[in-house]
Amino acid sequence: SPAQAAKKKEFNIAWTIYVGWMPWPYAAESGIVKKWADKYGLTINVTQINDYVESINQYTAGKFDGVTVTNMDTLTIPAAGGVDTTAIIMGDFSNGNDGVVLKNAKTLADIKGRKVNMVELSVSHYLLTRGLATVKLKEKDIKVVNTSDADIVAAFKSPDSTAVVTWNPQLMEVKGEPKATPVFDSSKIPGEIQDLLVVNSETLKDNPDLGKALVGIWYETIALMEDKGDKGKAAREAMAKLSGTDLAGFEAQLKTTKMFYTPEDAVKFTSSAELSKVMDLVRTFCFEHNLLGEKVKSKDAIGIAFPSGQVLGDKKNVKMRYDVSYMKMAADKKL
């Protein structure tokens, strides 16, 4: 359990299939994980969980020391559940990987009055509310039908479904439907949907080597991924395969993902003042949808700490932290 954090040697990291997280299984398979773990005298198990929410739940319940997760879900699940969580890797942000698709429509405004199939209370929901605001619509103007992410493609095949919000790879499949029009996507709200690797803050405090190893793994792997040559192609092909698609499909998804291939870029983004504005938007959405807990009376209840030392919300109850120190070590080649 997370509270029993102390010096330990074996760590468990959970990941789920998503274009921005595919380096993890590749790193595990190709020995990069072992290499870095050995370097710090650790054992790191990288485990795949098929169900994204379950992976976060299991992390929150203490079964894992780290997990791949978005910024919003970090706030609503572990942080709201009292598990102090630190984001040590800013992997990417969605730059079109999440989108709204309508049938028989031209613009997002046409969504008015429709039933929208999406994973309720997820980043899709967030994306939709952000989109609705741009066309002066309210959530009341539509009807949300909670639809499981695995089934959303099939659901959109049904004549009953005329509007969906989803992410990749489902988004690509949905866009390919006849009469389907993408009307809004995350490239319109760049930087707001971030894909992170988070670890339990206490575990990290007691075992800084874990952070170093993870960051080391990450940047070695994505350097390979970015490689324009054969090695890079082979790596991307392997990742494609692992996510159940082929190279072309995977690269198409990569196009709509703003990867931070270098630690410098990631540090820069994470340290920018913009981030706290983004998180304010996110936590406002979360609060309005009761995601911070039924008893929470204000969006300030949970504190979010930024690299600058600034804290959004309750300073005494900081449960989510952005930490660039490890990525900085990578940038400085100090690992």
Partner: protein
């Protein structure tokens, strides 16, 4: 072997395992809370009570509805429809397969195969054929439950002593008459028994269907709340589902014993 516990000790004995489970829960919950005061996995009973008060007796902040009751109403309606239709299918097809060799050779293999198809895996096809609305949820329940019922009832019907069918024929019964007056009433207790065993699976399919696409229902709520591990609501919901299922089970058991008392003479010892 024939030592029957008395009335009082009976109740005690029956409650014992539940008390044990409750105890384990309470201590585990307290332990987790001691480690993490915000732990959500095993909330203490007090929080669950609060949560129940909230969902059952306070209107929802956004929709103004009493969430628990609207969820329950929606789910029970789906369940009743699904289970009801599945029962009808189970009864008619089970009877036909059990009584008529002709139907049996044609349909028994099909039913055998159908009962083996995992319905979840062919959901996309179900969506196309039955849409995303209430129908597909009901169909999923039927699809999951009916083949089992058909098989069980066909088996029960086929197992009646052959002498009885011969006897009925000598009394001038047609096949139809045998089916409705000799076989049907005698497999009714088994039908109820099977339906009782199928309540659990039916709820399972209902919840799965609601997890896949819905905007109201017990399963919908559970899966929505799972997004932020709100076990303080999920656990009472699970308990509530279990209670509902248990009540249905109990009512069916009583019905069977009341209307088909002839089948329960062994129990009277």
């Amino acid at each position: 072997m024939n030592i029957l516990p008395g009335r009082g000790s009976r109740l005690l004995l029956a409650l014992l395992p539940f008390v044990l489970i409750a105890l384990i829960y309470v201590t585990q919950s307290a332990q987790r809370r001691a480690e993490n005061p915000n732990d959500k996995l095993l909330p203490p009973v007090s929080e669950m009570v609060d949560a129940v008060k909230r969902v059952a007796f306070e209107p929802d902040r956004r929709s103004g509805e009493y969430v628990l009751w609207t969820d329950t109403a929606a789910s029970l309606q789906r369940l009743a429809l699904g289970l009801g239709i599945a029962t009808l299918i189970g009864l008619t097809f089970g009877l036909a397969i059990g009584v008529l060799p002709f139907v049996s050779t044609t349909l028994a293999p099909l039913v055998g195969v159908l009962s083996m198809i995992p319905p979840m895996a062919v959901l996309p096809i179900l969506f196309i054929v039955f849409g995303l609305g209430e129908l597909s949820k009901v169909v999923l329940i039927i699809f999951g439950v009916a083949p089992c019922l058909v098989r069980d009832l066909a088996h029960a019907a086929g197992n009646l002593p052959h002498e009885q069918l011969v006897k009925a024929q000598t009394l001038g019964a047609s096949t139809w008459q045998i089916a409705i007056r000799v076989v049907l009433p005698q497999i009714m207790p088994r039908l109820i028994e099977s339906v009782r065993l199928m309540i659990g699976p039916a709820f399972l399919f209902l919840i799965s269907a609601e997890a896949i696409a819905a905007d109201v229902g017990l399963g919908y709520r559970i899966f929505l709340l799972r997004r932020y591990l709100a076990m303080d609501v999920i656990l009472p919901y699970v308990a509530w589902i279990t209670l509902l299922a248990f009540i249905m089970d109990w009512v069916l058991a009583k019905l069977a014993r009341h209307y088909f008392s002839f089948a329960y003479t062994v129990e009277r010892r």
